[in-house]
Subunit: 334 residues, 2 copies
């Protein structure tokens, strides 16, 4: 706890903040964040701010701070395929019925091309291009992400759009993912059933400028178009929908955050785009002119899991960089 | 029960059989037939016969008797696809990993062509051709099968190899069927998992001359060939394997059976090929020179289900045709 002594001296040395500070604590993030968004929406005037600073997430490595300037959005659907009116004996009827599992697989196989791009017409229409600045920023992140991929994913080979580097595939490009599939008999041994139905759960990660409803509609219309007349398709919509977020890397809040990280770590932060979502970001963008995500976890910190932890050096560097951030913002406004 | 009176008078009028009769009763068919095959295999000399008559199955309709001259065989496998070492967050890693569900679907989509034929090299190599005689016989069955398809299956459209009529697709052509599939999250709502693995259960119905092991091997080798290097594939084999059966439509036993049905029903039987298997047939073929399947059920008889039933007219016609069959066989041997 030697770090806490340092914290005490920083606090003693720090001036009184030159800015007003409003603190919102979220205590329900692991149980669905039922109230925080509504709370912010209910108090737009009390919470109005120049900058909202969110401290959810992780930096790249203990000795390499990072700032997140993009989050992917998400949309979801369930695809149901049915054909015969009830489960059948595959001996009696096999060869005369388009097996719903097979038909579902044939549809899913037409949702990506051979390079891993989503082959849904219109899906990429509104996608914000990966810029030269994105590439320059994300190239610095690549070695860290590749090391983590090797450690955490460790599939036989990397996959995805070959013209994009790993951090772009993970943060700057949209995806279509099959999250679950079920049909027929899946217990021990064999049952020669020709099932009446099968379904898959599908989510798309979205990037800036993609409208969740429009992206979802592209997928639905594509599936309707390719579905053969030998089967029925039905859709269920789960209400999961969020737009992607892109924060201004060159904005004053982000610059202040970068200066603060550099001060605390002695190392300039790199800028990354996260593949997941931080839903609170959207509500914060409604009440604050700028949003910055200053994370202090590590990806190895077992977020939401047993033995969740924060690296002690990140804890003290976090306090130090937060103090510095408030200083810099105050001076900028001074 | 007026029919029983008729039965009594037939029995009274019938001569003493001119052939020896050995009766084997199977009482375990609904609980897996654990002992009957072994029993026959243990007593080849006691059970040696010129003709084995099996009365399992159903005729086409109460006023249209039918004789089954073919049964399909079967072989089975489980296909497992895996990629990342554990389930992942689809937001964090989606776009960089070949999703095992997607990869499994892409493999399954390459097991049939657009006409419903199995697109596995070598799969049809040994398949006995559908002959002109088959076509002539099975055309007579087609209207009955189509009516049953409309009633029992009732899918949006019929499916399968367009150059074969329905009774050929169901009895004379091999199939590859997906009996079950599972991967990822399949409960209520959505979980944005990118699963580590997915699997499918697959069976092939086989026709005469196809060796179950060879057919299975063709499927396995095809899948290994098309599986991309971004995933792992593994196979499990369930031990389900049976050759198809083709009985001689023009043989003396079948001719006697046809004469017996015509006598009892006043209508000549049609000849059909069943899509499923009657496993006892194989053992019977080892102890008897000829096998004939004389069925007296109806397809609406709820075989193996609640309220299983036999149509009374079939019951009395069955007794009458069995008496006639024994007569004809005896006279032929006279």
């Amino acid at each position: 706890m030697a770090n806490l002594k340092a914290v005490e001296s920083w606090l003693a040395a720090a001036d009184k903040p030159k800015v007003n500070i409003k603190v919102v604590l979220e205590g329900e993030e692991e149980s669905g964040s039922e109230n925080i968004n509504a709370f912010i929406a209910r108090h737009p005037e009390r919470l109005a701010a120049d900058i909202a600073m969110i401290s959810d997430g992780a930096i790249l490595a203990p000795d390499q701070p990072s700032l997140t300037y993009g989050l992917r959005g998400v949309t979801a659907l369930e695809l149901h395929v049915s054909a015969p009116v009830s489960d059948l004996h595959s001996g009696h009827w096999g060869g005369s019925v388009h097996n719903p599992i097979q038909a579902l697989c044939e549809i899913i196989a037409q949702l990506h091309d051979e390079n891993g791009a989503v082959s849904v017409p219109g899906f990429y229409d509104d996608v914000a291009a990966v810029t030269a600045q994105d590439r320059a920023l994300l190239e610095k992140v690549e070695p860290f992400m590749q090391a983590e991929w090797d450690d955490v994913v460790n599939a036989p080979a990397i996959w995805g759009e070959p013209e994009y580097i790993l951090p772009e595939r993970l943060g700057a490009r949209p995806t279509l993912e099959i999250n679950g599939i079920h049909g027929g008999y899946t217990g021990d041994g064999m049952k020669t059933v020709l099932p009446a139905r099968a379904f898959a759960k599908i989510t798309c990660r979205l990037v800036p400028r993609q409208d969740p409803d429009r992206a979802l509609n592209c997928v639905v219309e594509h599936i309707k178009r390719i579905a053969p007349e030998t089967i029925n398709v039905d859709f269920q919509f789960g209400g999961m929908g969020a737009e992607a977020v892109l924060l201004d890397v060159d904005g004053p809040a982000m610059s202040a955050a970068a200066a603060a990280y550099t001060h605390a770590w002695g190392v300039e932060p790199v800028f990354e785009r996260a593949g997941g979502s931080v839903p609170i970001t959207f509500e914060c963008m409604k009440v604050a002119k700028e949003v910055v995500i200053m994370s202090y976890g590590l990806k190895s910190g077992r977020a939401h899991g047993p033995n969740e932890n924060i690296y002690l050096q990140n804890f003290s560097n976090g306090i130090q960089s937060t103090i510095k951030f408030i200083d810099v913002v105050g001076e900028n406004r001074g």
